[in-house]
């Protein structure tokens, strides 16, 4: 098994990383159950 997905939990932090890393954001709305 590989490394697990390293999720951000705040949109602003994700967008800041997206700008720095030149990547799109994958935003997953999920049911935590």
């Amino acid at each position: 098994m590989g490394n697990p997905v390293k999720w951000e939990t705040e949109l602003n932090a994700a967008l800041a990383r997206a700008k720095t890393e030149n990547k799109p954001v994958l935003m997953d709305f999920f049911n935590p159950g």
């Binding site: 590989g2 697990p4 949109l11 935003m27």
Partner: protein, 150 residues
């Protein structure tokens, strides 16, 4: 997604390397309302300014999630008029994920991106012909139907 798709090593490697993954509960305030989330999972591809370019609702197995996320990345490029980036990503889908649900839309968008970057109509017709050959029943073949006349 947690049980099957995200733990898959190809999926986690792709996500960790190619996108910034953000996970939010379905009732997050204010974002669930802002993005009109009605069911889970809802996966939304955003650009670095927070603008939406691609969305899926419902479960995706590993072999469909990666090309779907690539399609989202291609749409970011397309929508921002970065056709070189879009074309490169779309060709990746067609080469590495040719028989997936994202492939017909990728063929369509590839033809459109090549047209918009060159103003040569030939790629549009080529896209229709490839769709007609490989995905005759796809809605994307229907959408490309007028290009057969180019």
């Amino acid at each position: 997604m947690d049980a099957v798709t995200y733990p898959h090593p190809d999926v986690s490697a792709f996500i960790n390397g190619s996108v910034v993954p953000l996970r939010l509960p379905f009732d997050h305030k204010p974002l669930a309302e802002q993005f009109q989330v009605k069911w889970t999972p809802t996966l939304v591809t955003l650009d670095a300014d927070g603008k939406e370019h691609h969305r899926t609702v419902g479960f995706l197995p590993p072999e469909e999630l990666i090309p779907s996320l690539l399609l989202g990345k291609a749409k970011v490029g397309f929508d921002l008029d970065n056709f070189e980036s879009a074309i490169k990503t779309l060709e990746n889908i067609l080469k590495a994920h040719p028989k997936t649900n994202s492939a017909p839309e990728a063929i369509f968008l590839h033809g459109v991106s090549r047209y918009k970057s060159t103003h040569d109509a030939k790629p549009l017709k080529e896209a229709y012909e490839k769709l007609q050959t490989e995905y005759a029943d796809s809605e994307w073949t229907q959408r490309a139907y007028p290009y057969r006349l180019l």
